[in-house]
Amino acid sequence: MESVLVSHASIYIGLAVIFGLFMAWGIGANDVANAMGTSVGSGALSFKQAVLIAAVFELAGAILAGGEVTATIRKGIIDVSALDQTPELLVYGMLASLLAAAIWLLVASRQGWPVSTTHSIVGAIVGFGAVGIGMEAVHWSKVGTIVASWITSPLLAGTMAFLLFRSIQKLVINTDDPVAMAKRYVPVYIFLVGFVVAMVTMVKGLKHVGIKLPMESNLAIAVAVGIGIMIIGTAMIRRIKIRPKDDRDFHFANMEKIFGVLMIFTAMAIAFAHGSNDVANAIGPVAAVVGIVQSAGEIASKSSTPAWILLLGGGGIVFGLATYGHKVIATVGSGITELTPSRGFAATLGAAVTIVLASGVGLPISTTHTLVGAVLGVGIARGIGALNTNVIKTIFMSWIVTLPAGAGLSILFFFILKSIYS
């Protein structure tokens, strides 16, 4: 058996890298736009700034905090111990899953269906595992947790966005002098953004790049990061010109300018969060293939994801962003005009924190769905002019369609690959 793996080692790795890069490209080209849309739409970021922030922080998120979800995709869904005798099956399966998800996303995009990358890849892996290898090969409890997180993540993001929005209503918007209050409290929120993202990354992400620190230093570094960006943010707020005449038409125009600064940091957080969670969809299977092939058949369930694979995923996302995604960001951003920075902030941060937390515990979740939940949370606080609830229906549709489609295709490719190589 090892001979098959050894003799085809470079082909397997080559295929995995190509498929993985293609998936990463797709994430950068399409999915990043959803994460950045609220920031561009609220007018806090120009579209060029959004592309730049997305490039830097998607990459950072993928490399610094993408390890845990990658590990889940790589070895959390399929019980690799059952494959001791036939490790090449896992290679075929992972290649088939990548191919299935990529093709399915391509078809769905052509048709204009809103599908989730995360659901496609998870459906594909569960599909080949259950049918190609055997029902007992799938970690059903882990799959159950993942599926449950697809319901809880929008709920959690919605609750957080609701509470964040209510807090700014109380502290800033509904006060005698919203501009002064915004100047006072926005730096605090900026600190919060930096602290939460840094903390989760320190505790959960960095061990995959080989850094492990005691809890106290994690806390100290997270606080330092928070204070650091708070100082930058405060300086940016100082530079804002408050012109009373801007408030003539819409009485909160000056206050919203200050929230615009906050939104820049929130945009960084969501780009980071998105990179940390979605990179795994592309490179989780790649890491699995590389792991098996390099250890020549021995399925190493302990070893961690090599940093070059995380870099590959992050790089692929940035490549997708540069070649195609920037156009999609402009399109999505211009479609969202009803959002002001104060609402955009609440929704985006609610989603970003949820996603970063999910990345920390290794749960692959859908960024888009989480963000939809967060926006609804602000809507429930009576903060947004009008929301289209039909979107919730299409999300359910994409659930029902994506999972079996991804699974079916990966089963098909699995048997094709299996018959070619044996």
């Binding site: 959803n34 809103p114 005698d176 005009t337 939809v372 002019g385 929301l387 289209n388």
Partner: protein, 226 residues
Amino acid sequence: MVRKSSIASMFAGSPVKPLQQHMEKVCDCADQLNVFFKAVKKKDSDACKRIHKTIAKLEDAADDIKVDLRAHMPNSLFMPMPREQILDIVRLQDKIANLCQDISGIMTGRKTELPDAVANLFISFVERAVLAAHQAQKAINELDELIETGFRGRQVDVVQEMIARLDEIESDTDKLERKLRHAMFKIEKEYPPLDMMFLYRMIDRIGRLADVSHQIGSRIQLLMAK
């Protein structure tokens, strides 16, 4: 291969802007009614015809906004204010424009003249009713601020104050109406009865103009109460 973005399609157009645009056109209509009555007092029938045409045109423009607004209010919208209330406000605003068009139309068609003894009273009555429409517009223009604050806090007080002022204007209009009717009663026998009857009808409609504006205020109060 641009994938359809769920996030972008989630944001529907807020009805607030078109609602405000509609009210702006409606108030333009009402403003013309002031001009119209001054022309009637001067017995300038050419000007009356011209102004009536302007009112009809403005009413048409308001109608277009109304139709468009209704077409973009599907059941599936999730809004901080009930859809029914919004539709009701549009209906009331629409009524103001229709009343203006009716009044100027009937008076132009019948070549109505104002008896000198009541002409000034008539004009100030109309002005007060039009003022009510403008006060309602002020409150409507605060709707985007109300959404910004999530219908809470000081902004609600600001709008409550506007509506209190609207109440005052409306009761002022009522007082003026009583005064005008009394003055009309004193002179009505000196003029052709049919002309007088139609003038009474006009008084009715002008009074309704203020009433409807007042109702818009009540609807906004309901929005804030929820």
